[in-house]
């Protein structure tokens, strides 16, 4: 089926399996303009706000910092730096509570702000179009940008798809399919210029054939504004796509399916099929980083729920304590029962409001009485199959549940547990009120823990094979690159007299030397990870997923 959403370029849309129509609850927060919140008295800036290695503090206690100053440097390829989101003095570096399902503490840099928001002298502005994509990527990395949709994967790494993956389609994800959240909606309505600039920069870097900006049809104003902005921008290959509201259309794989009809292979990345997806807020942050030399210092947070006096969207500095933000928003309407960070389908509950806003805090819900009541009475699974009907990953949630309960970790992987995106659709429809996702997280953690010890489960083997294949591919590429170089050298008329072999060797040596010189600064290729880096990613992933919830009984 196809929907005609643009008179000039009708864009065909596809379906993914399952999905849910959820009560949106967005009206609570999307009616008012984004309110900027002034710098709080103290900022608690966690060193790990992204997937990958945590940043390393590069300031010391007592030091004065300026707004935008880098205070933590990235460690390792998959990492991101952190910055002072206002000027002031570093008063402590140590463990403080961070927003994490476990309620754990983690290293933070604490800044006593001076209320002046002093900035360093801005560097002379230049035209980014004269810069190579590698340089732009480096700037994005230095700006500390990570996926602002909540995934928090370092953006510079994601943008480096590698030479073997030509990105033909750039997708800007402005779907925002979780209930309650409206930060991207407001961003599009109020800051479309940044988004357009960001798209321009990405188009310059990636040179895709087309760029699709996907917005759900429950955001008509944002759709109108973005369509207008795109048509005024003259970006010919850019198309705003109105997609039907259906949770979880904003999931990366689901969105790719909707817009292109393609499925990302289970063991691959979107880049494998020539696609790159960026969240719309990330795109706006890229524009600010490149055009205004402004690193990622703040983000738009949807503060909502019946427990909040003035729900709405707030522009909040990274590191602002949640309690300060709530006070700024008029305080609690009623004593909250729960604080949910993220949306109701995938967010996690906080232990208290003494945690800072981080790069990933897109939404905070303070639930009032009887709002989103939690089920307590799980019954046995009747195999009714409702869960299967809605699973966007086309899994058999009831079988996964069965094997998770039986702790049969081989069988559960046989049923592709690791393809579960934890969207929560299955648990949301289960008539027996079984907390299915909790079981899947438990099983995943169990398996990761086991793998750590033995590394001999199915998944590890699969990873190993994938790695072997990758290495073989790299070798192949290296060879073909050499061959191409040789041919090129042979063709050059000026080189006719020179010994082509010798020239090639010289050129290769020069390249190696240059590479060596640049190594600390240049970003490597994601496909070119060392074993250590690989492990780092895995650990980071494990950490991200890890919860300290008791194994479900």
């Amino acid at each position: 089926m196809s929907f005609s959403n643009n008179l000039h370029h009708p864009q065909r849309l596809w379906h993914f399996h399952g999905g849910l129509h959820l009560e949106e609850c967005k009206a609570l927060s999307n009616g008012t303009e984004i309110r900027p919140m002034p710098a709080p008295e103290k900022l608690y800036i966690p060193l790990a706000q992204h997937i990958g290695g945590p940043a390393e503090a590069m300031v010391s206690i007592g030091e004065t910092v300026l707004s935008g100053q880098k205070i933590g440097r990235a460690q390792g390829y998959i990492s991101a730096p952190v910055h002072a989101s206002s000027s002031g003095r570093v008063i402590d570096i140590g463990d403080y509570p961070v927003p994490h399902p476990s309620g754990l503490s983690a290293p933070c840099i604490v800044i006593q702000t001076d209320g002046e928001d002093r900035w360093p002298q801005p560097p002379a502005s230049e035209n980014y179009s004269s810069l190579q994509s590698g340089e732009l990527r480096e700037r994005i990395r230095e700006a500390g940008i990570a996926g602002l949709g909540g995934a928090l994967f370092p953006t510079s790494v994601k943008l480096n798809a590698g030479p073997e993956h030509k990105i033909s389609t750039l997708i800007i994800n402005a779907v925002e399919c979780e209930p309650y959240i409206s930060s991207d909606d407001r961003l599009m309505r109020e800051q479309s210029a940044d988004i357009i600039n960001g798209i321009r920069i990405l188009m310059h870097m990636l040179k895709p054939e087309r760029c699709l900006l996907a917005i759900e049809d429950n955001k008509p104003q944002a759709l109108d504004i973005m369509r207008q902005a795109v048509s005024e921008s003259g970006l010919k290959q850019c198309l705003v796509c109105k997609i039907p509201t259906l949770y979880p259309s904003g999931g990366e794989k689901q969105l790719i399916r909707i817009l292109t009809g393609k499925e990302v292979p289970w063991n691959g990345l979107p880049a494998n099929i020539g696609i790159l997806v960026q969240n719309v807020a990330t795109v706006a942050a890229i524009a600010q980083a490149i055009l205004q030399h402004r690193p990622l210092l703040s983000r738009i947070v949807t503060l909502t729920g019946q427990g909040i006096a003035k729900p709405g969207n707030y522009e909040v500095r990274i590191g602002t304590p949640l309690s300060d933000l709530i006070a700024f928003a008029g305080g609690y309407q009623q004593p909250p029962e729960r604080l949910i960070m993220g949306g109701p389908m995938m967010g996690f509950t906080l232990h208290n409001d003494a945690v800072p806003i981080t790069k990933g805090s897109n939404c905070i819900i303070a639930t009032g009485r009887d709002e989103l009541p939690e089920a307590v009475d799980a019954l046995a699974c009747t195999r009714c199959g409702q869960c299967e009907r809605v699973c966007p990953a086309q899994l058999l949630p009831q079988q996964l549940y069965w094997y998770a309960r039986a702790r049969d970790m081989d069988k559960i992987q046989d049923y592709n547990l690791f393809d579960c995106i934890e969207c929560g659709c299955c648990a949301h429809v289960c008539p027996s009120h079984i907390p299915l996702v909790q079981y899947y997280r438990f099983a995943k953690n169990e398996i990761w823990a086991k793998e750590e010890d033995k590394r001999k489960s199915d998944r590890a083997r699969e990873r190993h094979q994938a790695r072997e294949a990758r290495l073989a591919r790299l070798e192949q590429q290296r060879k073909s690159r050499l061959r191409r170089k040789k041919e090129a050298l042979n063709k050059k008329p000026g080189n006719k007299t020179a010994d082509p072999k010798k020239t090639a060797i010289e050129a290769a040596m020069k390249r190696v030397a240059e590479k060596k010189k640049n190594r600390p600064a240049t970003a490597a290729n994601t496909q070119n990870l060392s074993a250590d880096q690989e492990k780092q990613i895995q650990q980071a992933n494990a950490r991200r997923q890890a919860t300290t919830e008791d194994p479900p009984a």
Partner: protein, 348 residues
Amino acid sequence: MNALLQHSSPHGTPQNNVTRMMLQVLLALVPGIIAMIWYFGWGVLINILLSCSAAVFFEALVLKWRKRPLQPALSDLSAIVTAVLLGIAIPPLLPWWITLIGIAFAIIIVKQLYGGLGYNPFNPAMAAYALLLVSYPIQMTSWLPPEMLTDVHLSFSQSLSAIFSGILPAGLSWDAISMATPLDDMRTQLGQSNMISEIRQSPLWGDYGGRGWEWVANWYFLGGLYLLYKRVISWHIPVSMLASLALFGLIFFSLDPQSHPVPLFHLFSGGAMLGAFFIATDPVTACTTRKGQLIYGACIGALIYIIRSWGGFPDAVAFAVLLMNMAAPTIDYYTRPRTFGHAERERD
């Protein structure tokens, strides 16, 4: 601040619950039950009430014994659904103790000994029906004629005394009031090499099934549509089951129309309609994958035809369902859907 509630995502309670689904099943059965009471008298209602109270009693007993809380298991209404299904499957004046044996077997052995709702491999109502049919073949096959074919209409109290004491009103004998079901009749007569055209002369026959019977089937069909509409069941099992039954009927009917009844006869006789929408679709014991459900339904349809035509019992829904209950896990295993992002049939 106060201690906040901690909970794993997703947040909020699902709209749906088991009790509600079971209630919808019961609701969907109501038109068919009313039709049965209309055609076959108060005995139907008495059977249902008897089996329901027995089911609740036995369920509570076992839960007590297994030291499980009573409330959740009883309020999920699954025992009531089992009881109603058995209550409408047995003859209207079946002696009370046979009904009790059936319910006790269904609830204690087939359901609770396997671990309760969700763990039983066999459909409890059908397992009990099969047991009773094998153990008490005479009682289990003496049906009453539909109301238009008889002058004897037992009152509520007369039915009550017939069921509980076996005493019929003066001047009536069991032989005089009971009658074989159309399926039974068709079987016996075909066994005597009568032609279909002769058999159909009898007043027992309506438009395409037995008189009265075909209307009961119509009402169950309607209830089934309601369940489909409410998404309590999916279309896969009923459609594949009825389609395969009809297909088999059609093949043999077109080969020899004089010794095989029209396909519609099979759909609207015996327990086919009830079975397609209310019994084969029992989620606990059926296949759960989409493809699996198509296979499962089709096999039940085929088995019904085979057992009806060549087996030892006139109706076959119970046996067909039980046989396929056994095969369901295997079918499920081989019909797993392709996971998103995986190639078709990628298995190690």
